[in-house]
Symmetry: C2
Subunit: 121 residues, 2 copies
């Protein structure tokens, strides 16, 4: 095993005008978790007083998070997963379908490298 | 302004035997948010049936998350912030003090680049 966890980041520019709609976003993120074959534990979504939403879906495999800046039509999505059963890219595909960004940058990093925790045993 | 948000990651290897203690971790992460000059909105912490904890602290400035693997003495911490008022490194310093990892790797990325959202206007 190479890593304990995987972080996938997507920066979504030029999204549709849905980034202040906390219930819409909750629905999108929950459905994204299901599409990505994750098991939802709990969700927590918060709309800020002025604008913007922060939402987290805790899943058995770790979490999905979204932060939105409606004033810039920008949304950032993070997916943190452990295990190999889930497909974060299916989740991302669904989120893109519902936010319709004009441009998306995606990248990923590994977390908790076996080589490191074996070194310090 | 260069970026809308900042992600800071810390992979903590060889932590003390506290990684299954959900209430201890909730306390640590809340206090870390305060140390980092963030304003707590809500917290959500979950202990998995077998082992390990996932916890998220939603703050006005975005979120802090922790995932633990007690069986590997490993914890991953993510901090996502917007604005310049908070100090994520003060938060991290406090978490390290309370988890006492033998080794920590930290890195950061910027999210939502001004150059990009201006391009697609």
């Amino acid at each position: 095993m190479g890593a304990l966890g995987y972080n996938i980041f997507a920066d979504m520019y030029g999204c549709d005008n849905v980034l202040d709609d906390v219930e819409y976003l909750r629905g999108v993120m929950k459905e994204a978790a299901i599409k990505g074959n994750m098991s939802i534990v709990r969700t927590i979504f918060h709309r800020y007083e002025t604008h913007g939403v922060t939402g987290v879906v805790i899943v058995k495999e770790s979490h999905l998070a979204i932060h939105t800046w409606p004033e810039y039509s920008f949304a950032s999505v993070d997916i943190f997963l452990c295990g190999t059963k889930s497909n974060p890219y299916e989740a991302l595909k669904y989120i893109e379908l519902k936010l319709r960004p004009k441009k998306v940058y995606t990248h990923s990093i590994e977390r908790g490298m076996a080589i490191e925790y074996e070194r310090i045993k």
